[in-house]
Symmetry: C3
Subunit: 365 residues, 3 copies
């Protein structure tokens, strides 16, 4: 019998530890889309298969106090950005150091600590973001500190680059006279994650201020609330962003190609409900509005409001294994104000889309 | 003894299952090339080392009925394509679902179910493709269904995007008046894989029709046959493609830079023989022809025929481990018809090339 | 008890062997930088977070005589290069074959066998390279042979592509009349690694000659020496490069955008000292100079000398685990000669930089 155990293939203890602590994942969302654009000059139909989310993740606990996280999302460009020297495809590349039982330090390219439950979802699980997060820079490089103040309350604070590119590479020759490259394109982000009534009610609130160019920046806050019981979870977010230099690009695109809007405000509501109908079926509904205002320092002109509605059904064929087929309708309505219709080359339009596909968060090792 | 077994490093059962079912591979072909171009205006010599095939593969059986396959080929551009949102480097990213003992459903970016044995080989093992497959789009996004009708007969059916890019991104301003973006650039592909006489004779036949632009498409069929015994395998393919809008680009390149050829036909023969000389040596020979025709709806002009000849020797130094050195000659002859010589700025030419390198399908985990 | 052992999850023996012999690593350097440029027209301040080094490595021993090495550095472009068909992000993709106890053959994309200890460090551990290695092409495709002549003396010889791009793609229309594409842009590299006095003194000397264009090339040699004892290691390199066509680009950039300098010489000194102050602290100092000469075939004009000084402190918080915080000052001084100031649009300038960050060579599996 000793012989037998000697012949057994032995994995070195060191390797066993590594194997236990590494996680390799592959996250997929893939779909068939059928969509129409209508309204004003918009007349476009499209049908196509699309790889909505295709990402390899590697994470590992490498030491009692050191955790590593990496994600390569293949749907984004790998062009190396001039400021932080990674492409948009590398969404995560950071270490998480446990400084003490309640303090953790994060260093590297990471998720900004913005708030709200829309942002809390991975892009794998959001078929269409509202206007702010659809245009926000979510993965940036810097340092973060989290503080588990109480069992149910956690605070986060970050200092981050506010961009991934140098000013010239981002804006090119489009410069206003009063716009200058700052010494440091920096963002400060703080958030609070609360939990009440045994987790039945949860909150993610955040406040951030970032400098995009010299002396001009963006003030952004979010109020995210979640209620859940056995079958239902209900999330409501309010987002408010005041941008001295437009960083979402919605107002800038309305102005036209070679201008950057200034003194813009975006105000949003977002609601998502998820209801477990049966072990295999889940119903979801997302509703959202986003309002754009220009010249907010003087006349505050309302420019447009967009609306969104996304009813969805998930069907999970396998027990104990998360693989979901989904069927969704995505309705988007872009209503321009009279002021905008009079002053810009715009018209109200809408997008109607049906999607059928699958979502698979695969755990490979 | 109990103490001893307690001290042993234990891998969680869950991890053991994952480890058993994951495969990580790295496929390499690397070579030294010496080549000459001669004929007409062609006079060029080159010598260089080249990484012909460099790809990381990850596949896994994640559930009794779910299989995942991914390949990142580093020799291709990672520019994210506008239609399916992956770069050409991501050749495979799909799931394979077993619907029943005989039906499987494939979803994601996958190999089109084209036929013939030339296509059956990975680019790792083909030193030079014939004209059609050298210019075809093999990795596209969509849905496929396979049906194992009998033990020896399997049928496949696919609905796929016929491109990876939107019309504008692919063709830019090169548009004919009668060419329009279709609602859906779709391809339908069907194939049959047969096996006869205990596998001594095998077949892969395919038929496909794809819409490249509105109302105009490509009809492509292949007839692939393979005979094999202990030492010899002999493959013969016939390929026929009628293209209302040229998708291979051979005729378009002859017309000149800002035109897309229409009503083109490509007809090909391809033969490959592999003979195991000894456990360490194998001899191979590939022969091929490809004929291009223009104006096939009216006058049917023969434009050119290309010929190819690729004698190759494999030397496998290791027993029970697939690592091959290879030595090959690649001869390619492009003969233009009198019609083409008279009407276009072309002349017949040839390429002579010698390659020495290695092929390594490495199994890493 | 038999039941017990049957229930135990079993990993196939084959998989155990693979697992034992694979290594997956992730190397990170990430930092906060504060820097100023001053002198002449240079007046620039910057503060930013940066991902200095972000690379996934996979290596494996796949057979008694076959080793595989791959590294994807995400900070470099993935644009596929025309000559060797890999992007700059793929730094390593080669196999290492043991031909005999003393001879190894390397094939693929690999590190050129240049010498000196500056080059011996990974870019992870070098905050700023001197002028030659800061602009040299270190990862190229070809074949290498190493010969362990004696226990303490190893010789290496390589034949490599001297570029990763074809001439046209690299130089575009910038061509001098006497410059032509060579049949083979080839580099020959040889080096010697010696060890003396029980490893207390070590050497890496190299000599290389490469052809950049037809009949014109670069002759480069390095003399690298290292002394080390328990606490101190001291390295000194001398580098000399004579370039008939400028491949480092320093002199070409001084000439202006559409010219390539010819008959250039770069001469460098580099010194690095590392002193282990305590188990947790290490002090480092790098000093370097680099001189540029133009017209070295005729008048030999001294153009500029650059100086560098990089005092650094490492702090390793974890015992038995290599994770280092670092704090460094990087001073760089570029002094132009009177000849250069008179003849070119240049002025002397300097860069002062402070960096704080971490270096983590993470072993994942």
């Amino acid at each position: 019998q000793e012989n037998d155990s000697l012949k057994k293939p032995i994995i070195p203890a060191e390797k066993v530890e590594l194997l236990k602590n590494i996680n390799i994942t592959f996250d997929l969302r893939m779909e068939f889309q059928a969509y129409t654009f209508r309204g004003g000059d918009n007349y476009y139909n499209g049908l196509q298969f699309e790889n909505g989310f295709t990402a390899l993740g590697i994470s590992a606990k490498l030491h009692d106090r050191l955790y590593f996280n990496f994600r390569n999302r293949f749907n984004n460009t790998s062009d190396v950005q001039s400021l932080d020297r990674l492409g948009s495809n590398i969404e995560l590349a950071y270490v998480d150091l446990k400084l003490s039982p309640s303090f953790n330090l994060l260093l590297g390219k990471m998720t900004a600590f913005f708030g709200g439950y829309e942002y809390e979802f991975s892009a794998r699980d959001v078929l269409e973001y509202n206007d702010i997060y659809g245009n926000a820079l979510a993965f940036v490089t810097g340092a973060g500190l989290t503080y588990q103040a109480f069992e149910n309350h956690k605070f986060g604070l970050q200092i981050l680059n506010s961009r991934t590119m140098h000013y010239d590479d981002l804006y090119g020759d489009i410069v206003a006279e009063n716009i200058q490259e700052p010494d440091w394109p920096v963002a400060f982000v703080g958030n609070w994650r609360g939990s009440f009534f045994d987790g039945k009610l949860e909150t993610i609130y955040s406040f951030s201020h970032s400098y995009e160019v010299r002396d001009r920046g963006t003030t952004f806050f979010t109020i995210g609330n979640k209620y859940k019981n056995d079958r239902l979870s209900l999330m409501y977010d309010f987002h408010y962003s005041y941008e001295e230099v437009d960083t979402k690009g919605i107002m800038s695109r309305i102005l036209g190609e070679d201008q950057i809007a200034e003194d813009v405000r975006y105000v949003e509501n977002w609601l998502r409900a998820e209801y477990r109908i049966s072990p295999k079926f889940k119903g979801l509904l997302t509703l959202m509005t986003s309002s754009t205002y220009d010249n907010v320092k003087t006349t505050t002109e309302h420019i447009r409001t967009s609306y969104g509605m996304i009813p969805t059904i998930y069907y999970s064929p396998f027990k104990d294994f998360d693989f979901r087929f989904y069927l969704a309708y995505i309705g988007r309505y872009y209503d321009y104000s009279d002021y905008a219709l009079d002053n810009f080359d715009e018209s109200s339009y809408n997008k109607n889309e049906v999607r059928i596909g699958f979502i698979a968060p695969l755990w490979l090792l």
